[in-house]
């Protein structure tokens, strides 16, 4: 990797020269800031960085060469210095040369690039397969094959709204922190299957050179093999509606031992905290639980005040649906709202939440703000209405 390191420092210098040519004087500042690709965390990413640097050096060299000529002409061939215009206007040899040479250079670039393209597409023989589902606006992770099979969770932004709305100082990982991180073991080939429930999203982890659109109704894949322990952060990179900027991706790479421990703990947690849909809960328990569910799933559209953002996102406070018969509201939350045959931003939460969570959040909305029905919805009632 020594060659790659010196190539990088050359690219840095070339970049600085370019910045200086532009005449902004940013170059000194630039070195102190994030201004290049994030350090590679896998061999594939390192290969991509190497390619990028090689192409940058090449482009910079050609750029400086071509505009060296132009600026020399601007300096030496100016009328104010008494330069008389020559009248030549073609030269077949030169024209053939500057058509052929760039073509040869392009073939030179295409060769190493093609090898990386083919490597990047090779998702065969993974050690671990995880399905990633894009939702408006969070990510769902399902470990479908390999160690940890059966683990399944939703990963949501954990930055408090107070920080986003400037009522509290912003934390170190502002907008790049989630409640449940994706955990993977180091040195294992991880295959990610992407899909989406509503609109197109895009899943990206820059340090692994891994990006793939998540397309509703289709499954695509990508792979990465982490070579660094640590927590790596990124965001959704395909415009997916209002909260597109607020659905981060956080991947935690751990040692094999730690991974096995994590899987064990997850399995125990699943067994221990499994919501018991047969139980009858008190109104207070449901409201407390419901408030958490609301904060994770509902608040960005319907707002903490329950006033929504009409007309796209209707208010729940005083809503006819919320204050009406409970079956009506349960069905709405379970199946979402479909207008003219197409789903709206009110998606079918029946696919994302279990009966206890649904019962809790519905109870919460019926007994919060100005809504005071005093009714507790039990998980069994939700279960009965599932199709």
């Amino acid at each position: 990797m020594k060659a790659s390191k010196s190539a990088r420092s050359f690219a840095n210098r070339a970049g600085v020269v370019l910045g200086a040519v532009i005449g902004l004087g940013f170059s000194g500042l630039a070195l102190a800031l994030e201004w290049n690709l994030q350090p590679a965390g896998s061999k594939l990413a390192a290969d991509i960085h190497w390619l990028h640097e090689a192409v940058m050096i090449l482009c910079t060299a050609i750029f400086v060469g071509v505009f060296g000529f132009m600026f020399w002409a601007c300096y030496a061939h100016r009328k104010s210095k008494g330069h008389k215009a020559a009248q030549f206007h073609e030269n077949t040899t030169v024209e053939i040369l500057w058509t052929v040479i760039p073509a040869v250079i392009l073939v030179g670039i295409a060769w190493p690039t093609t090898r990386v393209v083919i490597a990047q597409k090779d998702t065969s023989n993974p050690d671990l397969t995880i399905k990633v589902t894009g939702y408006q606006w969070k990510w769902g992770y399902d470990y479908v094959k390999g160690e940890g099979e059966g683990i399944s969770f939703i990963s949501t932004l954990s930055t408090p709204r107070d920080q986003i709305e400037n009522r509290a100082p912003k934390g170190e990982h502002y907008l790049l922190e989630v409640d449940n991180e994706l955990v993977v073991p180091i040195g294992k080939k991880v295959r990610i299957l992407t899909t989406a429930a509503d609109v197109v999203h895009s899943w990206w982890v820059p340090v692994f050179g891994a990006k793939q659109d998540a397309i509703p109704g289709f499954i695509r894949d990508l792979w990465f093999k982490p070579e660094k322990i640590g927590t790596f952060r990124s965001q959704c990179v395909e415009l997916c509606g209002k909260e597109h900027g607020f659905m981060p991706i956080v991947v935690k790479v751990v040692t094999q031992d730690e991974y096995s421990k994590w899987v064990g703990a997850q399995m125990k947690l699943i067994a221990a905290t499994a919501d018991d849909p047969a139980k009858t809960y008190t109104l207070d328990d449901l409201r407390k639980r419901g408030e958490q569910v609301y904060a994770k799933n509902c608040v960005v559209c319907h707002q903490a005040t329950g006033k929504g953002m009409p007309p796209a996102f209707p208010p729940l406070d005083g809503s006819k649906v919320v204050l009406g018969p409970k079956d009506g509201q349960i069905t709405t939350v379970l199946n979402g709202v479909v207008k003219n045959g197409t789903p709206t931003a009110m998606v079918a939460f029946g696919k994302q939440l279990n009966d206890v969570e649904l019962a809790a959040v519905i109870t919460f909305t019926r007994n919060n703000w100005g809504n005071k029905t005093g009714e507790a919805i039990q998980p069994a009632e939700v279960k009965a209405l599932r199709k």
Partner: protein
């Protein structure tokens, strides 16, 4: 061409150089005009109005991005601004600006009395204000303007309110306007050249527009199809882009970019044409490699139809498709390189002066090439997969659209303004305009390359703290850039009102027909008897 003359109530045999305006007065003159110069002027002022409107939205975007956190606009409105900024700038500002140049310049550069279809020309223009109104009105409908990005990807478009429908109709109108305008341009160039003005003697600006017009006729109906399918998916129960009904969201992207990539050259080629007039004039030397310029332009146009999926490397295409689109895309670097080399060779050993049009042309050449190189970087699949949908892409296409097309449009306006109005602009103010535009432009967009490399996604209203410094610099640059364009407006109005009288040929090295055969300002009717150039 008697039909053309008749609509003006003109006897058609008057002296070439004394044709005046005889039609309706006041606002009705502009509504009913069929004169290519009037219509060119309308296009240019319309374009400037849209440039300021789209620019105001850009200011709003940069204001919100000045610091992390949500300060001024909720994320919904922010998305509406990014969407409308894109649509308005592409369809309302840049494209009409170059159609304005085409209207003014093509007839007087080829020795024709007017455009071939004069009434159609009027209609092509007057569709635009209605389309623009629909786009603006969409902000005031329930749910607001669509917040889907100018690319209008399905199925997000299905979730939008009626603003989306207004936008779809606006795109239909804009497309009609472009197609009608193109038919007019093609017919004019192929049929109305003066005797002796052979195709290979046409000024390069005319050549680039001929090729652009063919691109428009081929590409705009595809866009119309894409948005119509979106409309029927929204309202009439079709499932073109809905997997649940047997459709495919990615199909939309293929159709959109089949239009979208030629669109890039629809914007860039006329800019190449303007620069190819300006650089030789101020180098006092003929354009180097005229024939190879024509071939290179044609090659770019043809290649532009087989590279579209390089906008879609991350949708998950088979590896063979990725490689095909990567190879075909990198190939565009060859004819583009030829053009850049030709321009530099034109300057080489010339006798250069640096009036404002030349400064903008050099600015174009320098920065457009930089944008071309980042294009080459993005054409390579693995690198693009890192940079797709980040600010690197935003920086790249603004180097092409702003430093490319807009700088060329400025060059063209300073170049031809004396011919059009009979008055010179203030050279000192012009130079101020150039240097401020140049500095602020780079301040906005050069740093966005760093943001993209470091991992900032595009189209987000709020961002992690590490991106703060670059965003601040970028925003300050944007405000400076916006204010500088007010200086441009002042400078143009000052020139029209009280500029010095311009001679017939204010630029020593200019040699096309409008400079050599026509007085300044250009009379209302020109070349009613074609000049003999044999």
């Amino acid at each position: 061409m008697s039909a053309v003359a008749d609509t003006h109530g003109h006897d058609g045999h008057a002296d070439d150089h004394h044709g005046g305006y005889h039609g309706a007065g006041g606002i009705m003159r502009w509504v009913t005009t069929t004169n290519h110069k009037d219509i060119g002027t309308l296009y240019l002022w319309f374009s400037f109005t849209m440039f300021m409107t789209g620019g105001a939205m850009a200011m709003a975007i940069r204001l919100e991005l000045f610091q992390p956190g949500i300060q001024f606009f909720n994320p919904d409105l922010f998305n509406q601004f990014t969407t409308m900024h894109g649509l308005i700038m592409v369809f309302g500002a840049i494209m009409p600006a170059f159609v304005g140049f085409a209207n003014w310049q093509i007839p007087i550069m080829i020795g024709a009395p007017d455009m071939a279809f004069a009434r159609l020309n009027n209609w092509s223009f007057w569709l635009l204000p209605f389309a623009a109104s629909l786009l603006i009105i969409s902000f005031f409908t329930p749910g607001g303007a669509p917040g889907v990005g100018w690319t209008m990807y399905a199925p997000l478009t299905v979730q939008m309110g009626m603003g989306m429908d207004l936008t779809i109709f606006a795109v239909h109108l804009l497309g009609m306007s472009s197609i009608l305008g193109s038919i007019n341009i093609i017919t004019t160039i192929l049929n109305m050249r003066a005797p002796g003005m052979t195709l290979m003697r046409m000024p390069l600006f005319v050549w680039t527009w001929l090729i652009t017009a063919y691109l428009l006729v081929a590409a705009m109906p595809v866009l119309a199809g894409a948005v119509t399918m979106t409309l029927t998916d929204r309202h009439f129960g079709t499932s073109f882009f809905n997997a649940a009904g047997g459709g495919d969201p990615v199909l939309y992207q293929h159709i959109f970019w089949f239009f979208g990539h030629p669109e890039v050259y629809i914007i860039a080629l006329p800019a190449f044409g303007v620069v190819s007039q300006v650089i030789p004039a101020f180098s006092r030397k003929p354009l180097f490699g005229y024939a190879s310029m024509v071939y290179a332009t044609s090659a770019i146009a043809i290649l532009s139809f087989i590279v579209w999926a390089h906008h879609m490397y991350t949708v998950g295409m088979p590896v063979q498709a990725q490689l095909f689109f990567m190879y075909s895309t990198t190939l565009i670097a060859v004819p583009t390189g030829v053009k850049v080399f030709n321009w530099v060779a034109t300057m080489w050993k010339g006798s250069l002066t640096f009036e404002t049009p030349m400064l903008f042309a050099i600015g174009f050449l320098f920065l457009f090439t930089l944008g071309g190189f980042t294009g080459l970087v993005l054409s390579l699949v693995p690198i693009d997969i890192q940079l797709q949908d980040t600010y690197y892409v935003v920086a790249h296409f603004h180097y092409v659209m702003v430093a490319g097309a807009l700088f060329a449009a400025f060059a063209g306006i300073y170049f031809w303004l004396p011919k059009w109005t009979g008055r010179m602009y203030d050279e000192t103010l012009g130079k101020w305009h150039f240097w401020l535009t140049m500095i602020f432009f780079n301040m906005i967009f050069f740093v966005q390359h760093f943001l993209g490399l470091a991992g900032m996604p595009r189209r987000i209203p709020d961002y992690p703290l590490i991106f703060e410094t670059w965003n601040k610099i970028s925003s300050i640059g944007a405000f400076g850039f916006g204010l500088t364009q007010l200086l441009f407006l002042y400078l143009i109005l000052k020139a029209i009102k009280s500029g010095e009288k311009a001679p017939q040929k204010p630029w020593e090295g200019a040699d096309s027909l409008e400079w050599t055969h026509l007085p300044t300002p250009v009379p209302y009717h020109t070349f009613e008897t074609p000049p003999n150039l044999k």
